[in-house]
Amino acid sequence: MIWDWDWTLEILPGLLTQGLLVTLQATLGGAVLAFVLGLFVALLRRSRRPYISRPVGAISEFIRGTPLLVQLFVLYYVMPDFGVRMTALTTGIIGLGVHYASYTSEVYRAGIDGVPKGQWEAAIALNLPRRWTWIGVILPQAVRRSLPALGNYLVAIFKESPQLSVITVVDVIGLARELGSERFRYLEPMTVAGLFFLLIAIPASILIRRMERRLDT
């Protein structure tokens, strides 16, 4: 099998503009949702009211313990029976966001636990209200500590986003498969799509590692 450059150049723009665009939308949408939702889950799990912390914890563990694929299926094929209708991409973003929120909530939990006890004590000594202790003192430090791990999950979400093709989202991998099936030839489209992932994931990982080192000091 010889690499077909003409065909490669022909499919490249489509893969870039349609496929990669969808992939990035899914990734960024899913990540933003995961980062925001995860923070709320982390906070709710710390609630002193057990009727809040327990169920949130249980749901979060359940989501973490089941495959993303299953969750996507349920969202896309079962939810409409309950009258919830969304586009495939929106469903996919919600699926990714909810699934990864169960991971990012653990990241935030570690970040919150990592804030030195002295910070809480200084806040108490200053009679700072609890709410402002969280908003002004604890969360800014906890989130900062969480950034490298969150960055890693951003890359993970990016790499897992092709799973959205099971609910008919045509991302860069999905498009590559469609293009391949037209000619029964997958080498070029899949290689190009794979390269896109490498070209984005590797620099992102390096950036995150550098950020990690900067935050350490």
């Binding site: 030195p116 910070q119 004590e121 200084a122 200053l126 209200p129 609890r130 002004g136 430090q141």
Partner: protein
């Protein structure tokens, strides 16, 4: 101003304070000395409501700190009650505990603005005055990580004073500092002690400093007061053997 009545404090099986009684007058400056583990920090932390008593009661300015009335019963204080009593007390920590995510000015203004509802401009004006007093007028916009230990501790002192406490608790505030930075912080505290009418409770191993600022020295051992008296009396002619041994050990360190 401060009264401990039969205060007991246990951590699990470890009894740190046993039936401790003592009181401090308004405006009085008292230094606590004693060997490591004798419960000095625990006393300050109980006053700051960072710990709860196991038994007994603590009063500050006539108000019970550890308990409150509900109907005709004494019940452990709830958060709202604690906030109320805590207003009168400020604390400076050995490790400064500045908020690293805020600049110096914000460190000082955050609590007045959020806890007392002081308008930000007014809080900042006050903060700048305090910064001038602690000789850091130029550092308002610096971040804690850009300051030396001595400077950080001076900011922490300004931060505590911004809340206008009536009682200030100082727990070994110079022991985390490099030796050359100690005197700056001590001089500042000396000025503050002699200017205002703050009630001061101070834990320190620096005997000269204790002598300079305090009216009274309490010598602790194993959670109990072994001896108390004026700094002159305690440091020059201690009555108790344990005090003599302790002072000997500190002076030779």
């Amino acid at each position: 101003m401060i009264r401990f009545d039969k205060v007991g404090k246990r951590f699990g099986d470890v009894t740190v304070l046993r039936e401790l009684d003592f009181h401090v007058e308004r405006g009085e400056r008292v230094t606590l000395i004693g060997p490591s583990g004798s419960g000095k920090t625990t006393i300050l932390r109980l006053l700051m409501t960072l710990e709860r008593v196991t038994s007994g009661t603590i009063h500050v300015d006539g108000q019970c700190l550890s308990h409150m009335r509900r109907g005709d019963r004494q019940v452990p204080a709830d958060e709202r009650h604690l906030r109320q009593v805590r207003k009168k007390i400020g604390m400076v920590f050995q490790q400064f505990n500045l908020f690293p995510n805020m600049n110096v000015l914000r460190n000082i203004t955050e609590a007045p603005v959020r806890a007392l509802g002081v308008p930000r401009e007014q809080a900042e004006e006050k903060a700048r005055e305090l910064l001038k007093m602690v000789d850091l007028a130029g550092k308002a916009h610096a971040h804690p990580s850009q300051l030396s230990g001595g400077q950080q501790q001076r900011v922490a002192i300004a931060r505590a004073l911004a809340m206008e406490p009536e009682v200030l608790l100082l727990d070994e505030v110079t022991s985390a500092l490099d030796p050359e930075l100690v005197s700056g912080v001590q001089n500042l505290l000396r000025d503050i002690a002699h200017q205002g009418n703050l009630t001061l409770l101070c834990v320190t191993h620096e005997m000269n400093f204790a002598r300079d600022i305090s009216h009274r020295v309490l010598m602790f051992d194993q959670g109990q007061i072994v001896e108390e008296g004026s700094p002159e009396q305690i440091f020059t002619e201690p009555a108790q053997q344990r005090t003599r041994d302790f002072l000997q050990a500190v002076l030779n360190a």
